[in-house]
Amino acid sequence: MRYSEIGFNLEIDLSRGNIERVETDPRLTELHLGGLGTNAKLLWDRVSPETDPFSPDIPLMFSSGLLGGTPAPGANRTIITAYSPQTLLMGYSMMGGFWAPELKYAGYDKVILKGKSPNLVYIWINNDKVEIRHAGHLHGKGALETQEIIRKELNQPNAQVAAIGLAGENRVYTASIEQGRSSASRLGLGAVMGDKGIKAIAVRGTKDINIARPAEFMELCNEVLKYIKFRNENPVPNVMTILQGLGSPQEMLHVDEKWHTENFVWGNARVRRRDFWNKEIEARWKDVQESVRTRLISCYNCPMKCSAIISIPGLSTYMMKCFSKLTYTMAAFVDDLNFGFKIAQRATEYGVDGFSTPQIMAFAFELKEAGILTDADFEGCPSDNEGRFYWLLDRIVRREGIGDILADGTYWAAQKIGKGAEEYAHNNIKKHEQLPLKLGMLNPVYFLMYATGEKINITQIEGQFPQEPFATMEEREEFVKDWIQVPDEKFKQMVLDWEPRGERSNPYHPTVDMSVDIVDWQEKMHYIDDALGVCTGLSSFPLKPPYHIHNYPKFISAAAGIHMDEAGLTQVYNRNRNLIRAINVRRGLRRADEKPPQDHWKKRFPELEEKLLDAYYKFKGWNMDGIPTKKTLQELDLAYISEDLIKRGILTEDQDAPSKKTSVETDKK
């Protein structure tokens, strides 16, 4: 019997209409755990690096994690992978909610979709019975609307449905995959789903998930719950409100948005409004939020309440989380939060990413002001800030007129528009729009995470090391005294020594070596979460989380019956980290691509930044171009990867330097 995982994947070929239940190799679970790890392994094995993201050969994978659906709190993530049409690199996007656990109860760890359906279809998985059903009647329907229609027509109120909206159908590069309160929205995987002709995947399962050592496992789960309770009652002092607790930032609960509105930038990630927040705005925004917020809600088997049901009179109900109430508001320069909630409703039904999409629109209006785009491009567009955003959102999602060009994101749109438009697509890393955050002094840890993260989205890379130094020694001592999560005591000293000003402050402290250590720890926890299917909100993201490197190995051993300790888990992390790096290296990723936006920090330190990258690559066992060396790959049981990279001339037998210089930046589609 397989424990914690099911041991079967569902493989669907949409071109041929073939459906198979395929047993998986338990050895792969030991090597990669599951979720992102095994998805990456399958992607490496099955697709050549030359394959276009919209090729029928691309497998679009929906995966649970190894702990998904077990009683481990917060183990509910769905990990979706393919190649990103926007970055052209491996695209992985994740969502919470209820979908992945239901898939496991139906008897599968993953759904792997390849080929393309000639007509729009949806997949209905009901335990052993799997159907590809016509979805002609769902053309153009909203992502949430589709979920409701499918549940009704199947008469399955307990089915969980992941669906795309019109944006996915039209292959908009910021198209998301929506499921109830959750969405997998970064990197355009909704476009890949739409390209395959899949409107939705509905799943219902009534089977068991087995646990190898039940008593031991339950004790661990109860400890985690106890710690969550403790953390909920004891917020971390001396940090800003949204960083004090667990979960994703509690944006639906809190109404105080002084920090975001004054520190994040407005419009096309340009304008900082340092005196925006005042009593009057606070009162108005509080009013708006409390009037539309019906209930705070959770994902499957998680006590946190990171999202909310939003009901606005005259609009259909939807669900929201995190920062999206502000992304449209701030990009459009609208001071009324009501607009943020209203346009997010339309955007959620269309199924678009709430980070990239508003930036694309702000980018377009900046190009118009600069005369690079003309009035002809905006014929019929209202002139007010709210109206023009609605208008442009409709054009982008429908790929009409200028919307068709903008639908590919700021990088590709700028390439097509030319005339200097590239300068306006200024907030990208690896062609992907970043948080609208512009800061003063370079933070060496954040520099490395932005530059080298394969997720290309800081919130899925950053983590539990404080974002800023504490002001006083007392505060630092207070912070480190019950910091049980550190993999090594040295991290406590780094916090104790870190000063807001002077010699031991950014950018030279944490030192280069410390920065590399810190980043490695943050990344490690994210890679483990993404393989296990545990929400980062209870693990790698917040300060002092309930899951950490000391209890994760015990969870894995007790749940799956795999022998695991901290060293072993670190080895799995390194294996998955290098595997994903190798996939991207094979797609052309090089050091030249590892650049945060030039204006992310006002004060930059080119020499230090090069040193940071050098040290990070060295620590990882990569050459100075960011490519894992033969030795590194061999030590991680990835010799087949080094052989492939050598065969392709990307690596050479015995040297550290690559023999061929490329970059995805220079690759044209």
Partner: protein, 180 residues
């Protein structure tokens, strides 16, 4: 009049406003009732279900009650504060009209047993795992009159006697006992 006797009444207070729909109650209930204990979990086997419809803001945790062989002749629909709840939305019965509270493999009915355990649990597991306090366990002592309860067979025979007459029952019994 029978004798007075003390009885513990166990109840779970359900606060619909506090339910966040996480279904941790279903997860832990099904794990607790697995054999061996906690060896598997499966919400379809749970004795508590969250009747949940986010788009209508409906969140109703319901514990499995009695099995009933036939569905009701009519169904109830509650409207509270302008919000309409599902038909049978508050009903605890394991009944032919829905798939809740039945073992998925055999269809056998499930019933909440307040996590009877040896040694006893401090609270039912669903309550322990509900960190948002939507489920609150309450125990109270009640004095009840000790009734002299008729045995089951007596209740059965009495209803037969009501229907067919005592004489007919006695004749039938006599005939049956002669056949051996």
């Amino acid at each position: 009049m029978g004798e007075k006797k003390k009885k513990i009444v166990k109840s779970i207070k359900i606060d619909l406003d506090k339910c966040t729909g996480c279904r941790a109650c279903e997860v832990i209930c099904s794990a607790f009732h697995a054999t061996p204990r906690y060896s598997s979990n499966n919400p379809a086997r749970s004795r508590i279900r969250v009747i949940r419809d986010p788009m209508r803001d409906v969140y109703v945790p319901v514990h499995a009650g009695e099995y009933t062989a036939a569905e009701c002749m009519g169904r109830d629909k509650y409207v509270i504060d302008g919000k309409e709840y599902d038909e049978c939305g508050f009903c605890r019965a394991s009944c032919p009209s829905r798939d809740a509270f039945k073992e998925p493999d055999s269809g056998l009915p499930l019933k909440c047993d307040m996590c009877e355990d040896d040694p006893p649990q401090e609270k039912p597991l669903c309550v322990q795992w509900c960190l948002n306090d939507a489920l609150i366990y309450e125990e109270r002592e009640e004095e009840v009159e000790e009734e002299v309860k008729p045995e089951d067979i007596e209740t059965g025979l009495e209803s037969l006697a009501n229907k067919y007459g005592l004489r007919k029952i006695m004749e039938t019994l006599a005939r049956m006992s002669q056949k051996g």
